[in-house]
C-alpha cells in the first residue's frame, strides 16, 4: 500500500496537476453555488475538457477537484439562502440557515468547510483501507435492505416532531410520499395521478420542490417582515470556531465520516440518505439540552450532514473502482469519463493500472485539502453575499430559485408549479407545519417504492421483512430512532413530575 501511495503522490504532485486541482475546485465551487447545477451536471459539463487532456490521471484529478468544489458550493447556497440545489445538501440547511440568520454565516461556512474536509479525507482513508473488502459487502445489499434503509432515512422526520408536532411531521412526510407517486414510476411505466396533464408525466422536479419548500417561503418571509440578514450589529462576525466548539463537533465528525462512508458504499443509497441519517442519528444521541438546539442553529446539526455527505461521496467510489458499478449519478458520469480515457474500472484496475487507482485516491486528498485552503480565506467574501442590500438580494434570490427550476427541466410550467407550491408552503409555514419532512419524504419516496416493489416481486409477498435478517434489523433501528425521542421525553416528564426512575 505504501508503494501505491508513493506512486499516487508522485503523479499528483506535479505543477500541472496541482494547477488542475486548483482550477477544478474553483470552477466547482462557483458553479455549484447556482442552485440547479449539482455536482452531476458540472462534472458532465467538464468531461469534454477532461477527456481532451488525454492523461487519465490529470483528468481524474481535475474532475475530483470539480466534484468536491461543487459539493461545497452547493452547501453554500443552502446555508446562506436556504436554497439547497442538491438533495445531499438539504440537511445542511436545517441548521446552517438558522446559523446564518443569527449572523454566524461565516462560522457556519467554516464549519461546513472543515466538516466536508474531514469527511472527505477520512472517507478517502477508509477507501484506501477497505475498498477491496467492501466491494463484496455492497453486493450483499438487496432491494429489501434498500427499502429498509430508506425507512431508516425517513426516521429523520422524528427530528422535526417537537412537542405536540408528531402528527404534523407525519402528515408532511405522507404528503411528500404522495407527491413522489405522481408521474410515471420506473417499475410500472404507467402514468399515475397526472390528471391528464402532460407536464406532470415525469413527476415533480426535485429542485422545483426544494426551492418551493425552502427558498421561496424564506424570501417571502423576508419581504413580509423586513429583517437584516446580517447579525444584530450588521457585522459578519464569529468567523473562527472556538476550541470548545471544535471539541463538540470532533466526535460528530468522526462518527459521521465512518457512517457516511459505509452508507455511501452501498450503490444507490448515496449522499442524500447519509446526510439525513447522519442528522437523525446525531440528534438522537445528543444530550437533552443540545437536542433542543437542533434545527435552531446547532453546530453539531450542521457538521453531521456535511461530514456524512462528503464521506458518502467518497464511499461511492468503492463500487465504482472495485466493481465497475457506479453507485450514483455522479459516479456513473465518472465511469463514462474513465472509459473514454481508456481506463476500465473493475477488479483488475488495482492490479493492471495501480498508478491510476492511487492517483484517484491521492487526488481526493489533494482536492479536499486545496478546497479547504482556497475556501477558508474566501469565506468572508462569500458570506458578504448576505450584506447585499435587501432590495437587490431578494429579487436575486427569487431569480435564482426560478433559474434553478428552469435549467433542470427547461420547462416554463415548472416555474408556475414552483410559485404555486411556494405559496402553499408559505401557508404551511404560517401554521407551523415543518416543511423538511415533506422534502425528505419526496426524495426518499420514489426510491422506497421502487425497492419495496422489487422485493415484493422477488419474494412474492412481504415475507422478505422477516426472512432477511438485515432488513428486519434495519427496520428495528428505524423504529428505535422514531420511538426513542418520545420515550426520552416521556421519562423526562415523569421525572419532572416527581416519579423516581425504577432502577
Amino acid at each position: 500500500m505504501l508503494e501505491g501511495l508513493l506512486i499516487g503522490l508522485q503523479t499528483a504532485f506535479s505543477i500541472q496537476n496541482l494547477l488542475m486541482v486548483i482550477a477544478g475546485c474553483l470552477i466547482g465551487t462557483f458553479i455549484g453555488m447556482l442552485p440547479g447545477l449539482g455536482p452531476m451536471s458540472i462534472i458532465a459539463i467538464m468531461i469534454p475538457v477532461a477527456i481532451s487532456m488525454g492523461d487519465p490521471s490529470a483528468a481524474l484529478i481535475l474532475l475530483a477537484g470539480v466534484y468536491y468544489g461543487a459539493i461545497f458550493g452547493g452547501s453554500t447556497s443552502s446555508i446562506l439562502l436556504n436554497a439547497p440545489g442538491v438533495a445531499g445538501t438539504v440537511a445542511s440547511s436545517f441548521d446552517g440557515y438558522p446559523m446564518a440568520r443569527q449572523g454566524k454565516a461565516g462560522k457556519a461556512l467554516t464549519i461546513a468547510a472543515i466538516a466536508s474536509f474531514a469527511g472527505g479525507t477520512l472517507g478517502a482513508v477508509l477507501l484506501m483501507v477497505f475498498a477491496p473488502a467492501l466491494s463484496s459487502v455492497a453486493l450483499l445489499f438487496h432491494s429489501a435492505e434498500y427499502f429498509a434503509l430508506m425507512v431508516v432515512g425517513l426516521s429523520a422526520i422524528a427530528a422535526f416532531a417537537g412537542s405536540g408536532q408528531v402528527a404534523k411531521a407525519v402528515i408532511m412526510t405522507v404528503l411528500g410520499l404522495i407527491m413522489a407517486t405522481v408521474g410515471e414510476g420506473a417499475l410500472f411505466n404507467l402514468p399515475r395521478f397526472t390528471m391528464g396533464i402532460m407536464d406532470l408525466q415525469s413527476g415533480f422536479g426535485f429542485i422545483t420542490l426544494a426551492m418551493a419548500m425552502f427558498a421561496l417561503p424564506e424570501a417571502l418571509f423576508l419581504v413580509l417582515k423586513p429583517k437584516d440578514l446580517k447579525g444584530d450589529d450588521g457585522e459578519i462576525k464569529d468567523l473562527r470556531i472556538t476550541k470548545a466548539e471544535a471539541k463538540a463537533i470532533a466526535p460528530v465528525v468522526g462518527r459521521q465520516s465512518v457512517q457516511g462512508f459505509f452508507i455511501g458504499v452501498l450503490p444507490g443509497a448515496g449522499a442524500t440518505i447519509a446526510s439525513f441519517l447522519g442528522y437523525a442519528v446525531e440528534r438522537n444521541i445528543a444530550p437533552k439540552e443540545e437536542q433542543e438546539e437542533f434545527g435552531k442553529g446547532s453546530i453539531k446539526g450542521l457538521a453531521a450532514p456535511e461530514t456524512a455527505n462528503n464521506a458518502a461521496c467518497t464511499g461511492s467510489f468503492v463500487p465504482l473502482l472495485t466493481l465497475g458499478i457506479p453507485g450514483s449519478g455522479t459516479t456513473a458520469i465518472l465511469l463514462g469519463a474513465l472509459i473514454a480515457l481508456n481506463v476500465t474500472p473493475g477488479p483488475r484496475l488495482m492490479l493492471d493500472e495501480p498508478q491510476i487507482f492511487w492517483a484517484v485516491i491521492m487526488s481526493m486528498f489533494i482536492g479536499n485539502l486545496v478546497l479547504l485552503i482556497l475556501n477558508l480565506p474566501l469565506i468572508p467574501y462569500i458570506a458578504k453575499v448576505l450584506s447585499v442590500p435587501r432590495n437587490y438580494l431578494i429579487p436575486f434570490i427569487l431569480f435564482f430559485t426560478l433559474m434553478g427550476a428552469y435549467i433542470g427541466q427547461n420547462n416554463a410550467t415548472e416555474l408556475l408549479i414552483l410559485v404555486g407550491f411556494g405559496v402553499c408552503a408559505t401557508a404551511l409555514k404560517f401554521a407551523d407545519y415543518p416543511l423538511a419532512p415533506l422534502l425528505i419524504g419526496f426524495i426518499l419516496g420514489g426510491m422506497m417504492e421502487d425497492n419495496f416493489a422489487r422485493s415484493m416481486q422477488l419474494y412474492d409477498g412481504i415475507a422478505f421483512i422477516w426472512e432477511r435478517p438485515m432488513t428486519l434489523g434495519l427496520l428495528v433501528i428505524a423504529a428505535l430512532l422514531v420511538l426513542l425521542p418520545s420515550y426520552r421525553a416521556r421519562r423526562a416528564r415523569a421525572r419532572a413530575a416527581g416519579i423516581a426512575d425504577g432502577d
Partner: protein, 160 residues
C-alpha cells in the same frame, strides 16, 4: 378554528381525493399480466391515503395537544406586514414564468430584476439598471455559452 386545522381540513380533502383515485380508478385499467403481480401501481398510494386520512383527522380533531408558540409572523395580522409587496412579487414571478419563452431570457430577466427591486422600494435607477443588465448578461453567458444549456435570448420574432 386555527389555521393549522383549516390546513388539515384541506389536506384531508387532498388525501380523500387521492385515496379515491387510488382505490377506485386505477385498478380497472390494469393489464391482466400485471394483476398477477404481488404489488400493483395502486398498492403504495392506497396505504399512503389511509395514513394521510388518519393523521389529518388527528390534527383536525385536535387529539394532540400542542403548545402555542410565538410564531415569527402572526398570520392573523397579515395586513400589518408588507403583504402588498409579497403579493406583487409573486405576481411578478408568475408573469416572468409566462414571459420567459415568448419574450426571451434577456429582456424578461432584466425586467424581472428591475421590477423586483422597484417593488421593494428601490428608486436608485443608476444602480438598479446596470446591476440588472450585468447580472442578466453574466448568467446568460454562463448558462448558454459556457454550460451550453439553450435559453432563447431574444423574442421569437427576432429569430432568437
Amino acid at each position: 378554528m386555527a389555521l393549522d386545522r383549516w390546513i388539515a381540513l384541506v389536506l384531508l380533502g387532498v388525501c380523500l381525493t387521492y385515496g379515491y383515485a387510488a382505490w377506485f380508478t386505477m385498478d380497472s385499467s390494469l393489464p391482466p399480466f400485471m394483476q398477477r403481480n404481488p404489488i400493483w401501481p395502486s398498492t403504495f398510494p392506497k396505504v399512503l391515503s389511509i395514513l394521510g386520512i388518519i393523521t389529518t383527522t388527528i390534527i383536525l380533531l385536535g387529539f394532540e395537544k400542542s403548545e402555542v408558540k410565538e410564531a415569527d409572523i402572526d398570520y392573523r395580522r397579515l395586513g400589518e406586514y408588507h403583504l402588498d409587496q409579497a403579493l406583487m412579487l409573486l405576481a411578478l414571478m408568475v408573469i416572468y414564468a409566462l414571459c420567459l419563452r415568448p419574450v426571451g431570457f434577456l429582456i424578461s430577466t432584466s425586467a424581472f430584476l428591475i421590477l423586483g427591486s422597484f417593488i421593494l422600494g428601490e428608486r436608485k435607477w443608476h444602480i438598479m439598471l446596470p446591476v440588472a443588465f450585468i447580472a442578466t448578461g453574466a448568467v446568460w453567458y454562463l448558462v448558454q455559452e459556457v454550460l451550453g444549456i439553450y435559453m432563447r435570448p431574444l423574442p421569437g420574432i427576432f429569430g432568437g
